[in-house]
Point group: C2
C-alpha cells in the first residue's frame, strides 16, 4: 500500500473521527482507527461500542486494504507536523511508515479482524434537521440530564417526535427541561433516548448546516456533512414526564433574569454547603431572597424588583439548581409560575419565540425550621 | 465602627492581598484577612506564615479597630456585587454587616489576638529593581526550580548579587538556568534563596514599574506600588553551581530554535514513556534526531538543518527537559555547546542581549544499547 496525503487535510479528517476513540478502555483495540482504503477513498472509522464516527477522503491509490492504526499517536503526529506532503506505506513487518521531506515515522499496525464492524442503521425514514436548531435544543436542555445510573433513561436526552414538532426533554428528578421546536417535522410519533456521551459529541460536530437523522429501534445515525455519527439508543422507557408538569400554577412572579441570577449567585456564597438552600419570600410586588450558613454564622438577604399578585409565600430552592436553570435561559424577562411551597415551580421566558416553547421545572426544597 | 467604601475599589484592594491566603491550612485563622482601621486608613493583611501581603486605602472613619474577617467569603461577595457603595458596620454579636442599596450581608468576625503579626524586615539597605527586569528574570529561570524537598535550597530561586550585576539561578540537578542581569546594581555581594511559592506570587504582582527590595537575614520585602510583599528566605546554602558549569565545551552546534523545538515535540510522541529519551546524532553540518518506543514498536527520526564542525557524536536527552529549556529561550538562533555524550551540555542564544547573559545547562542521559 502506498499513497500521499497533505498533512493538514488528514488532520482535518482525523479530528472529526477522534472523538469516538475511548481514552480508557479494557478493549485496547478500540484505541485505534480502522483505516479502509478502497476505490481511491480512505475511510477512517472509530468506535467505543456506544458511539461511532466515520469519515472519508479521496486519495490517489488503487489499493484495497484494511488496517488498524494507533489513533492518538497518529493524530498527534499529524497535528504536530507543519503543512507538508506525507507518503504512507505499509511495510512487511506490520509497520505503517510515514515519510515527509525531513522525517520518517513508523507506527505498528494490526489486522482488522478484531475491530468491531460499523453498525448498520436500518433506515426507515430519514429526517432533515437544521444543525442550528438541533444545537440550540441541546444547549438549552442537555444540562439537566441525570449523572446517576440508577434510572438509565434519565441519563440521556429524550427526542420526542409528535405531530406538532419535537420535544427535547432532560431531567434528573430535581429539575426538568422541555424545549419544543415546531419547525422540525417528522411524519411519525416516536420517542428516542440518546445517551449523554453521544449528545456531547453531537453538539461539537453540529454546524448551522442541515443534517440527516435516521432512527432504528436500537440506534440513531446522524449524517453531518461528510461525517457519519452513529450512537446506540437507551433501550428504556422515558418517565411519563408530562404527569409531573403542574397545570394549576396560576400565581406568577415576573422578574428580570440577570438580576435574580446575580442575586442567587451572591446567596450561594452564604448558603450552607450541604443544603445549598436559598429562600424566596414573596408578597405583593416584593421578593426578598435570603440565605444563611449556620456553621459559619454568616447570612445575607436582598430585595429584588418583581411583579407579583397573590398570597404571601416562602419557597426554598437549591441555589445550584436555580443558577443552572437561570443560566440556560437566553431571554431576560422570565416568569416563575407557582402554586405552593411544596409543589413544583415552572420557570419560563415571559415571551416564547415563534414555533418554540421552553419550559423549565424546578422542585422546591423544604425550608429549615 | 462604621465606614463606606466603593465595591470596585475594595475589590481591587482585596485582589492584591488574597494571594497570600492559604487554601488549605491546619491553622484556620490564616483563612482570614486582618482588617486594621487607624487614622482614616484601612489596611488589609494576609499571610500563610511563609509569605504575607499588605495593602491599604483611605477611608472616611476615625475609628481605631482590628478585626479578623473570612477572606474568601468577603472577597467573593465583594466581587459578585456590581459597582455600588457598601456600608461596613461591626455589630455587638461579632458580626460584620455590609449594607448596599438592595441587600445586607452578615459575616462573623473574630478578634485579632491569634492572628500572626506582620513580620518586621530590618532594612539594611534598599535596592531599586525594575519590575520589568525582575519579571523577565523570573520568566526565564523559575521553571527549573526543583519540585522535590530533598534539597531545600534547590526548591527556591537564587538571587546572587555581585559587583557586576545579579545572577538569577534555578536548578533541579538535571538542568540549570543562570540568567545574569547587569543593569540591576547592588553595593554588596550576597546570596538569597526565595521559595517557589513566593516567586509565583511575586511574578503575578510585578508590573513594568520600579519596585523596592529589602533583604534581611531571614526575610525579603518587596514594595510594589501600594502592596508590601514579604517572604521568608530559604535558610540554606545554595549548591556551588559554578563548579558544574563546564568550561571545555568547545564544540558548537548552531541551530534554529523553533525547528529543533517542533522536531523534539514530535519525537516526544515516540519516545518510551518512562525514559522519554531522544537521540541527537551529530556530524559535520548534520543532525539526525531520533526516538523509539520499544513497548509499542513505533519510532521516528528527522533531519534538522544545523551548523556543526567537530567529531561525530551521539548524545541522549530527556525530551521533557529539552522541550522545557527550548520553550524558555526567546531568541531563535541558539547554540548547543558540547564536549562528550556524558558531559553537561550548554544551550545559549547565539547572540546575548546587552547587559544580559542567559545560560542553560542540560545533563545528557545514557543511550540505550
Amino acid at each position: 500500500m502506498e499513497f500521499n496525503l497533505n498533512s493538514k487535510e488528514l488532520e482535518k479528517l482525523l479530528s472529526k473521527v477522534i472523538p469516538a476513540v475511548p481514552t480508557r478502555t479494557p478493549m485496547a483495540i478500540l484505541e485505534n482507527f480502522l483505516f479502509e482504503i478502497e476505490e481511491g477513498k480512505l475511510t477512517v472509522f472509530s468506535t467505543d461500542l456506544e458511539i461511532s464516527l466515520r469519515s472519508s477522503m479521496k486519495i490517489n491509490s488503487e489499493d484495497k486494504i484494511k488496517i488498524v492504526v494507533p489513533a492518538h499517536l497518529l493524530y498527534d503526529v499529524v497535528r504536530a507536523l507543519s503543512d507538508t506532503q506525507i507518503k504512507f506505506e505499509t511495510e512487511t513487518n506490520s509497520k505503517l511508515k510515514l515519510t515527509t521531506d525531513n522525517g520518517t515515522y513508523s507506527l505498528g499496525f494490526s489486522s482488522p479482524e478484531e475491530f468491531p464492524s460499523p453498525p448498520d442503521v436500518v433506515a426507515e425514514d430519514e429526517i432533515n434537521i437544521s444543525g442550528k436548531e438541533l444545537k440550540k435544543a441541546i444547549d438549552l436542555t442537555s444540562f439537566a440530564m441525570s449523572k446517576e445510573d440508577m434510572r438509565p433513561a434519565m441519563t440521556g436526552m429524550l427526542f420526542e417526535f409528535t405531530k406538532e414538532g419535537v420535544n427535547f426533554v432532560s431531567t434528573d428528578g430535581h429539575r426538568l427541561v422541555r424545549y419544543t421546536n415546531k419547525k422540525i417535522k417528522n411524519p411519525r410519533e416516536e420517542q428516542f433516548i440518546i445517551p449523554e456521551r453521544a449528545i456531547n459529541v453531537l453538539s461539537k460536530l453540529l454546524t448551522e448546516k442541515e443534517i440527516k437523522a435516521t432512527f432504528s429501534k436500537t440506534n440513531v445515525c446522524f449524517t453531518i456533512d461528510d461525517v457519519v455519527f452513529v450512537s446506540r439508543l437507551i433501550a428504556e422507557k422515558y418517565p411519563a414526564y408530562n404527569s409531573v408538569i403542574p397545570m394549576e400554577n396560576e400565581t406568577e412572579l415576573k422578574i428580570n433574569k440577570n438580576e435574580i441570577l446575580s442575586t442567587v449567585k451572591r446567596m450561594s456564597l452564604f448558603s450552607t454547603t450541604n443544603t445549598k438552600q436559598v429562600k424566596f419570600s414573596i408578597k405583593e410586588n416584593s421578593l426578598i431572597v435570603a440565605a444563611e450558613d449556620i456553621d459559619s454564622g454568616s447570612s445575607a438577604k436582598e430585595q429584588v424588583k418583581c411583579e407579583y399578585k397573590g398570597d404571601q409565600m416562602d419557597v426554598g430552592f437549591n441555589t445550584a439548581y436555580v443558577l443552572d436553570i437561570l443560566s440556560h435561559i437566553n431571554e431576560n424577562e422570565i416568569v416563575f409560575k407557582l402554586h405552593s411551597p411544596t409543589k413544583a415551580c415552572i420557570i419560563e421566558p415571559t415571551k416564547q419565540k415563534e414555533d418554540e416553547d421552553l419550559m423549565l421545572l424546578l422542585m422546591p426544597v423544604r425550608l429549615n425550621g
